[in-house]
């Protein structure tokens, strides 16, 4: 056990830090599109967009430790994302690198790295949520084209995307439900596609329903073999590997929460002078915050245990699912306690800190439900780690 870094790793960390000193000065307006465009150009030039991808396809070829260091330093400084094609970088790109034809790689990978346009993900259907493999979107081959009919739902940023990575059923009567699924790459402006945004509980629209009515897709847009779609999806999602960035995000959130607890008067004991102390002096509030700290540290070191296994080439155990579950719990709980500490003003839209905690407390479902609900994560842990029989 050793938490020290090698001189090479430390050198890389210094390189990242000096880059940040130079290009992300304090007070930089990271919501300014011009700033983001400039930032994206610079990190692309450093090859930090797609940093883990092989150099041959235009990635950075970064080692696992370098990836960790880069993510950590970026998260510590609240840096804008490395690249703007979120889903392209997270799983569409990795899937194309692994399963795509040479032509597909040349056509899509440079655009993903340059952030030319957005990708969205057509996996879930109204009848297939947690049980994704039961998906039913119809797809029939006619000559050199596939014809798609059906519906997807919870498709994030569908309204702003140029392409969709789509799972369809090419075999309606497979032996196992995981067979007979095929993965297609489809331009969103193909005739027959209709997007209907879904208004969510915070009032905005991040995801949408997507309808397919006789949508014709050239066979050359198939990713992997026909019937191989499940495998393509699963191995692409496995690229979502470490939770380093999430943990750093939660650690920062915890510091902000402590700040709120110092200034909030909710339940703070009354001093002899008549002044009320901050909520951090309230036993109940303070200990709940300490519990969050313990769980976030648990996540942090679970992540390091997983990372060590990865570096040793050992298979990953339960760490990923454990951290997903902890993160889900924390995302909800941090928002809840923040509003509770604001007392009677907790439900007011923008009375405290401009309403950022209210927005936070209404945004967790995206994270908590999006990556597989907590109950599904518990099933995964119970079955795959504890070896309990499948339900």
């Amino acid at each position: 056990m050793d938490f020290h870094f090698t001189p090479e790793e430390e050198a890389f960390r210094s390189e990242v830090r000096s880059f940040l000193d130079e290009n992300l000065p304090a007070g930089a307006n990271t919501s300014d599109p011009a700033f983001i465009a400039e930032w994206t150009r610079k990190v692309r030039a450093k090859r930090w967009v797609g940093f883990s991808w092989p150099k041959e396809v235009g990635g950075g070829g970064g080692s696992i430790m370098q990836q960790v260091i880069l993510k950590e330093e970026m998260a510590k400084r609240k840096a804008p994302p490395l690249g703007i094609c979120f889903m392209g970088l997270a799983w569409v790109g990795p899937a194309i690198i692994q399963y795509g034809t040479e032509a597909q790689k040349q056509r899509f990978i440079p655009d993903i790295l340059d952030g030319k346009y957005q990708w969205c993900t057509g996996y879930s259907e109204p009848g297939s949520g947690s049980d994704l493999a039961s998906l039913n979107c119809k797809c029939v081959r006619e000559g050199e084209e596939y014809v798609v009919n059906g519906q997807k739902i919870w498709t994030s940023i569908a309204m702003w995307s140029k392409w969709i990575i789509l799972l369809v059923r090419t075999d309606p009567t497979p032996v196992s439900k995981h067979d007979g699924i095929t993965c297609l790459l489809v331009p969103m402006d193909t005739p027959g596609i209709t997007v209907r945004p879904i208004k969510n509980m915070s009032g905005g629209s991040m995801f949408a329903e997507v309808f397919f009515d006789n949508v014709r897709v050239p066979v050359e847009n198939r990713l992997g073999e026909e019937g191989q779609g499940w495998q393509v999806t699963v191995s692409a999602l496995a690229h979502e590997r470490s939770s380093i960035a999430e943990v750093e995000g939660l650690r920062r959130k915890l510091e902000e929460l402590k700040e709120l607890a110092r200034k909030s008067r909710k339940n703070g004991p009354r001093q002899p002078s008549g002044i009320y102390s901050g909520a951090l002096e309230d036993d109940g509030i303070r200990r709940r915050i300490a519990r969050f700290e313990a769980k976030i540290e648990g996540m942090r070191f679970n992540g390091m245990r997983a990372l060590t296994k990865q570096l040793r080439g050992e298979p990953l155990g339960a760490e990923t699912s454990i951290n997903k579950l902890l993160r889900a719990e924390l995302e909800v709980a941090l928002g809840e306690i923040a509003l509770e500490m604001q007392g009677s003003a907790g439900h007011l839209e923008r009375e405290v800190d401009g309403g950022r905690w209210q927005r936070f407390a209404l945004s967790w479902p995206e994270v908590v439900i999006g990556g597989g609900t907590p109950n599904i994560q518990k099933n995964i842990i119970a079955e795959r780690v504890l070896g309990l029989p499948k339900d």
Partner: protein
Amino acid sequence: MNFGFTEEQDLLRQEVRKFLDAHCPLEEVRKLMETPDGFSRALWKQLGELGWVGLTISEVHGGAGLGWVDLVVVLEEMGATLFPSPFLATTIAAAAIREAGSAAQQARWLPSLADGSCIASLAFLEPSDRWDAADVALAGRAQGKGVVLSGEKVQVLDAPSADLFVVAFRSGDAVSLAVVERSAAGVTVEATPSIDQTRRVGRVRFENVAVAADAVLADANEATLGRVLDLATAAVTAELLGAAGAALQITVNYTKERKQFGSPIGRFQGVKHPLAEMLVDVESAKSILYYAAWCLDERDPDAARAVSLAKAYASEAFARIGVDSVQLHGGVGFTWEYDPHLYLKRSKWARPAFGDSDFHYDRAIAIGEQ
């Protein structure tokens, strides 16, 4: 960066597990817990010969010279089988002598602790039930160059079998440590039976016990005592998490076997989900503990916060696991014959030992606010 155990540590774990499986499985633990001593002197002697009693004592004093990360490995295994022995007590007492004793004092006592010939224990807690080094109140009155101790210590680990006590006391503003033999005039030991029969604790009274100057540990002060408590807390947490993991495992095994409504009950989500939650807690608390143990070995400034977070999280988790594992066993969980109650009872000792969750959560936040 490397956050895993070494091959040597993995091997050590296997050896300890093999030894305990062969010589002290739960059936044997059940026999030992009914005896007056509560542990096997023969096994204790073997443990000394294998070099495990002196695991963390330096080589010049006859120990193996290993660190707290290695100790965690051994204690997790001992916790898993609720191995009854004065190992934890002697290890903590040795740490106190190492941290606060002069070279001569270490040379005087550590060799007999390392080979197991002397069972020792840290006498810290007082009836005030405070785990802070600053709250030590047992009076040490100066007499010549030495001190005279008067007062009472409670919950002293393995007091009934201990030959030697390392006693925390106060003279004026200063907190210190004295090494006192059980046989010294004025020392009386009273066993205070625990509902956890695999764990022995006692009350130790000091009535005008004269301690020579050379038996007052030379570097004992609030800071060194604080570090001793951190080392002790990490050790307790390791043993606790070993026990919690085992309680989870026996419950998983049971729910795979036990059939109701035509299938093993482990198939039902109402059973599966609490088991998954237990694993999340055990593994996450272990991760923090491993980091804490590393910090202690490296004397990293983050050690105290890490120890407190680990103990706080682990105590709460084990308390719930103890209860849930009895519950998930259904009716048999309530019987003497099945094992869950042994772990449930251990959790009642472990939760408050060296500070409960409230104490350590408060401490972790206080450290962060400094």
